[in-house]
């Protein structure tokens, strides 16, 4: 099994009151799967993908990627896991405003131990062309539309050739046409590159395009 989640639980304690973010979730994902997770705000979707992405530690349970429990990794190993194997897409414009589109795409490269692969510049250019904004290489985020910024974020997520893309409501604030274009891009990446995609969305129409569909409610994952 490529990715296995075992009895994953995350609780938060605020003012002596404990909240459950993720409630004893177990899940198996194959390489190249396209999963969608729908659910109300606060149902635990973002908490779940954050734990899978290694930016949040669970209270209990394990996340095994090819047999390695990422929850036990130290900061260095966990960062290497994120930079090499995960591509994040967030539910907001997540580009650094001081960097151009090209630089934003190249940003994850500086966190790799073997910094600056000589081909990264070409890869970044190719990725931006692939997502349809090859003419915006030197544009700053403030000069790009919301849809163009999401495309840059997709290109950035792909820079290090990740195994998994975690897309947390990546089209939340986009119009329908742009939303469809972004979704199409994700499908292409999944099919052509074999990248596993976990998509979180409110949009049932988008969720329906995934191979495996789940709903989250009160921290629990339900297969739909």
């Amino acid at each position: 099994m490529f990715l296995r989640i075992e009895n994953l639980t995350k609780t938060y304690t605020v003012d002596n009151t404990t909240f459950i973010g993720v409630d004893n979730i177990s899940l198996s994902i194959d390489k190249g799967d396209f999963l969608s997770i729908v659910g109300h705000s606060g149902s635990g979707k973002t908490t779940l993908v954050s734990i899978i992405g290694g930016i949040l530690k669970p209270t209990s349970g394990r996340v095994l990627l090819e047999g390695v429990d990422i929850c036990t990794l130290d900061d260095k190993k966990l960062s290497e896991y994120r930079v090499n194997r995960i591509g994040f897409m967030f539910q907001f414009a997540s580009l650094l405003p001081i960097l151009t589109a090209r630089e934003n795409v190249l940003l994850p490269g500086i966190f790799k131990p073997e910094q600056h692969h000589p081909e990264s510049e070409n890869i970044a250019r190719d990725l931006l062309e692939m997502v349809g904004i090859g003419d915006k290489l030197d544009s700053y985020p403030s000069q790009l539309s919301g849809g163009q910024q999401r495309r840059v974020a997709i290109a950035r997520a792909l820079l290090n050739n990740p195994d998994i893309i975690l897309a947390d409501e990546p089209t939340g604030d986009l119009d329908e046409d742009t939303e469809a274009e972004i979704m199409h891009l994700l499908e292409e990446i999944n099919k052509k590159k074999g990248v596993t995609i976990i998509l979180i969305t409110h949009n049932l129409g988008l969720a329906g395009k995934a191979q495996k569909k789940f709903r989250m409610s009160k921290g629990r994952l339900i297969d739909i």
Binding site: T46, T47, S50, G53, I55, L56, D75, K76, S79, E80, R82, V83, N84, I86, F88, F90, S94, L96, P97, I98, L99, R102, E103, L106, L107, P108, G109, I110, F111, K112, Q115, H116, E121, R156, N160
Partner: protein
């Protein structure tokens, strides 16, 4: 196309708010300027005093009772003072155990009036047979002893006298003197005197215009035999000869040293306050930066940045700020110190000046302190930044 790196991201971050960056650089530059000025001032005074007393080459200086301060003013500053004791004191000093050699000077001041055609200046008469103070300087500058009717100007005297100097003639107390040259700079108060041998004094005394009397001398310089403690011999001298005060080489400039200690305290207090304020300013600004950029930091963490990467990124920003501010501060401080030196009588009077090596050392120390203060102020916010929970800051609105 330029590669992206920690440096390029840090530089772009610094350019993001140029006014804020400018304020920080300016604050650090001000602090470093103050440090440069304070250290340059105290080091130049202290080293000038040390250099002056060493340059005189005497272990003990014997002066009339109560004239210790005048002697220091004459030898270390550029002040015109006259003090005298009978020449017979020399025989008493010679008898003291431990004295190896001695020589003496007679000081007088020229005056404005018909008797003198040069501006009032300090005149030093010495004994060319016994002298070990002036002779070595003469040897360097003139290459021969002074003859009767000849005088040589100290390094700073030519300017004071308004003379072009060299082979001109001057009238001093109705006696004509040929000024045969200028001595090399010695860094002592004697740089501002006019030198002649004591044979000339007889005629000057006879002119009746000078307060000097026959058989008067001003000061005795002594060298001690090896193994004798200057303080001990000084105490014996003062005990045996009640008419004199004795100053050991290490005690020369005591008046300055105590003044300097007070000035140092003021400088120390001011620089500590300025350092604390600058540290606080850096802390406040970097705390604001941490809050402003928390989401970006969360994104970078999600993209694979380690805690050490975040620290590196912000440390580069701090180091660039610190170094830039410190370099500007060093340049401004050095310039100001040079410009303001003339405004401080303490510096003006003691021929103060720093060597290139001293200036470079002070600049390096201040560069380090300025940068270190900047890093210290920023470290707490940077540590907070690196510990931020990525998900929490990413979700923050």
């Amino acid at each position: 196309m330029a590669q992206i790196s920690f440096f390029s991201v840090a530089f772009k971050n610094l350019k993001r708010k140029t006014f804020r960056t400018g304020v920080l650089v300016f604050a650090i530059a001000l602090l470093v300027s103050l440090l440069i000025f304070a250290i340059s001032f105290t080091v130049s005074v202290a080293s000038s005093l040390k250099k002056s007393s060493e340059r005189l080459g005497a272990d003990l200086v014997v002066v009339p009772v109560g004239a210790r301060g005048f002697a220091e003013e004459f030898l270390l500053e550029s002040k015109n003072t006259s003090f005298y004791m009978p020449i017979s004191i020399i025989d008493k000093v010679k008898k003291i155990e431990g004295i190896e050699a001695l020589t003496y000077h007679t000081y007088l001041s020229s005056i404005s009036g018909l008797c003198c055609d040069i501006m009032p200046t300090r005149i030093v008469a010495y004994n060319p047979q016994t002298d070990f103070i002036i002779n070595p300087w003469l040897q360097e500058s003139l290459g021969r002893p002074l003859q009767p009717g000849e005088a040589i100007a100290g390094y700073g005297t030519s300017e004071n006298l308004g003379l072009g100097l060299l082979d001109i003639e001057a009238t001093i107390f109705n006696n004509r003197f040929k000024i045969v040259g200028v001595l090399e700079q010695t860094g002592t108060g004697l740089d501002h005197a006019l030198f002649m041998t004591e044979e000339n004094l007889k005629n000057i005394i006879e002119s009746g215009k000078s307060p000097l009397k026959k058989g008067d001398i001003s000061i005795i310089f002594t060298k001690l035999k090896k193994g004798y403690d200057p303080d001990f011999v000084g105490r014996v001298l003062e005990g045996e000869i009640p008419e004199v005060d004795v100053v050991a080489r290490s005690d020369m400039g005591e008046k300055f040293i105590s003044t300097l200690a007070d000035i140092n305290k003021i400088f120390l207090l001011t620089t500590i306050l300025a350092s604390v304020l600058t540290t606080f300013l850096v802390w406040a600004i970097f705390s604001a930066i941490a809050n402003e950029r928390s989401k970006e930091i969360g994104i970078m963490r999600a993209l694979g940045a380690q805690e050490s990467h975040i620290v590196r990124l912000y440390l580069i920003e701090v180091l660039v700020l610190g170094l830039l501010g410190s370099i500007i501060g060093v340049l401004a401080g050095t310039y100001l110190s040079a410009m303001l030196a003339g405004s401080f009588s303490l510096l003006k009077n003691i021929s103060a000046g720093l060597t290139g090596g001293q200036q470079a050392s002070i600049a390096l120390v201040c560069l380090f302190i300025g940068t270190a203060i900047c890093v210290t102020g920023a470290m707490m916010p940077i540590n907070r930044i690196k510990k931020m929970e990525p998900l929490l800051v990413i979700k923050e609105e």
